[in-house]
Amino acid sequence: MSDFVFFLEICLAGLGSGALLALTALAFVLIYKATRVINLAVGEILMMGGYFFFTVAAGMSLSAWIAIPVAVAGGMAIGAVVERGVIRPMLGEDPISVFMVTVGLGSVLVGIVELVWGTDPRTLPDFMGTAPVFIGEAYVSRKIAISFAIAAVVIALFLTLFRFWRGGVALRATATDQAAAYSCGINVPGVFSLAWIISCGTAAGAGVLLGSIGGISPTMGAFGLSALVVVIVGGLDSVAGALIAGLFIGLLEALTGTYLGGEYKLVFTFGLLIMMLMIRPYGLFGTKEIERL
């Protein structure tokens, strides 16, 4: 196997990982874009998606094609309940307070998982098949290839919806100026709910993909922190930024991990984060007036 093919394989693997990061980052962006809330519980909602899938696919032995929509719907339900029950009563409060509520929410969700499903790490039933995927001579993990394709479709769908769908336009309008959106007849609280529901559904879906690769455990929510780096680099309110930064960080980690060693992955990723915050604190594609917490 030539060095070039090896290099190509590493790049493809990195892009695949990056797509998963981008998909999770999207959950941060959707909520921030509409409500100016940074939801630090995205990682734990992602974890809940994995556990919902596990319950239906392994616990009830139902088809993955039933388990996936159930997992996504479960994530959406969490989003709806949290937004209506916890976040909306806090509208107008200090952003730090709302931010801390989401930190607490994450801990509550971890506690629920430990109580209901226990603390053992678990593996999700395979639903992606095991045949290897080759692009030319280059090998790509089947799960990573499928995750990449799903993430690409979902992100393209969101970009289209934001541009052309009424709900997407309402969300953009609310993000730009809430008072103006109200005066134009946009149901702003409804937009908030919609953002939370879609965001948490996306995170839960990402949880199924992530769980199918690395298994599920009460600690898998830590993946959310990696995605937070992506949104800070890409821009907290930019869907395209999440995509591009996700792919870039995936690629960066793959190359540094391969050619320098796994211990350098986080050094480079967080080095990039610090550099970005110093040079361009609103991210590559973020809106300049974003308030940093």
Partner: protein, 391 residues
């Protein structure tokens, strides 16, 4: 109030409190308490729950037999979430609330290291825990501590001796998580592999919590080792490594160390898990070889108990034996006396928890056995004799 003055009432209340408190104190004075900073939640929660059950069951057995010199054992513990600051806080709380706490179970290497000066200062306690860190196997600097099994370097030595016997000159890759836990045995084991004529062709380090390991699998394929030894993981990312290695047609054998060896966590992995091997210092709950203590455990708990249970059980057994030997000699329960009693354990019969008589020459029990996962049976099956790496 029935014509009683406030002063009389207070005097009565105080005296009644004394009457009830004195017998309670007298009753507790005979107990020997095992304290525990246990990781019942968090990343190590799966182990903490099993460890607690194992310790409690051995205490139950000892107490049913009348205790140690008539003194009952009791476990006083709290959850730490596998956080060092919380473990230390629990230690301080439990030691201030409980008299006669001479034994302690800690949840991590970081806690073992942090609390060691305090153990030395107190001088009235010995400690073991969930950590098998090589640095704790230092009878001088970690005098009040011991490990109820081999340390991580000794676990690697057991694996390497097995490999050297099965396939002399084999090519190895070490895959370790970029954590203190994961990096523990790398340097010492690379040297040991060389001594045994084995070649470590690559070392792969994965960041903590890594999920996607595609790039690491590609490195593994480049190295094409006969064996890949994983350390610093519980389950993930092992199944993904094994799945992708199979997809790529690699015939590498995958191995792990103690905390990856619980058969229940491999059950859900399915056929991919078949053939996974590793070092296990204790017998499994379902082992069929003669083991009276295992039989007793099965009577107490009819369902499968995880490897953490065996670790907790043996830890309590060794602690109890050290206390018994100290009291047999009429000595005080100090760290020095109990540790000397612990080191006097030679060819000790664990009732089959470990398949050979054990000794504690330093801070460890340097013995283990290679088991292999059988996906059909959903069990770990022994593939070697017990291997001792005592110097």
């Amino acid at each position: 109030m029935l014509g009683m003055t406030k002063r009389t009432f207070m005097a009565l209340a105080a005296s009644s409190a004394l009457v009830t408190a004195v017998p309670a104190f007298a009753q507790e004075s005979g107990e020997i308490v095992i304290g525990g900073s246990l990781p019942l939640t968090g990343v190590f929660g799966f182990a903490g729950v099993a460890i607690e059950a194992g310790i409690q069951d051995y205490i139950k057995i000892i107490n049913e037999e009348g205790g140690i010199h008539g003194r009952k054992l009791r476990l006083a513990y709290e959850d730490t979430g596998y956080q060092v600051d919380q473990s230390v806080a629990v230690f301080n709380k439990l030691t201030s609330q409980n008299e006669n706490m001479h034994l302690y179970y800690g949840d991590s290497t970081a806690f073992s290291r942090t609390i060691n000066p305090e153990l030395v200062r107190r001088g009235d306690m010995i400690m073991a825990g969930a950590s098998f860190a090589t640095e704790i196997n230092d009878p001088v600097n970690f005098a009040p501590q011991f490990i109820a099994g081999p340390d991580y370097t000794e676990m690697y030595s057991i694996l390497l001796e097995y490999i050297a016997k099965e396939k002399p000159g084999a090519k190895l890759v070490f895959v370790n998580s970029d954590t203190e836990f994961g990096r523990d045995p790398i340097a010492s084991s690379t040297a040991r592999a060389k001594e045994l004529g084995l070649e470590v062709v690559d070392q792969i380090i994965t960041p903590p919590g890594a999920v996607d390991v595609s790039t690491e699998v590609l490195k593994l394929r480049r190295a094409r080792p006969d064996y890949a030894i994983f350390h610093g993981y519980i389950l993930a990312p092992l199944p993904e490594f094994m799945t992708q290695a199979k997809q790529l047609g690699l015939d590498t054998k995958f191995m792990g160390t103690f905390w990856s060896m619980d058969s229940s966590i491999w059950e859900s992995v399915g056929d991919v898990a078949d053939g996974f091997m590793g070092v296990m210092p204790y017998r499994y709950y379902y082992d069929e070889e003669e083991a009276p203590m295992l039989e007793r455990i099965r009577q107490m708990r009819p369902t499968y108990q995880a490897t953490g249970y065996m670790q907790g059980f043996l830890t309590a057994m060794l602690m109890s034996e050290a206390v018994k030997r100290t009291l047999d000699e009429g000595k005080e329960l100090t760290s020095t006396n109990m540790k000397a009693a612990m080191n006097s354990i030679k060819d000790f019969d664990t009732g089959g928890i470990i398949g050979v008589p054990i000794s504690v020459p330093g801070n460890t029990v340097p013995v283990g056995r290679i088991y292999q996962y059988d996906a059909g049976e959903k069990k770990m099956q022994p593939v070697s004799d017990w291997i001792s790496v005592a110097e």
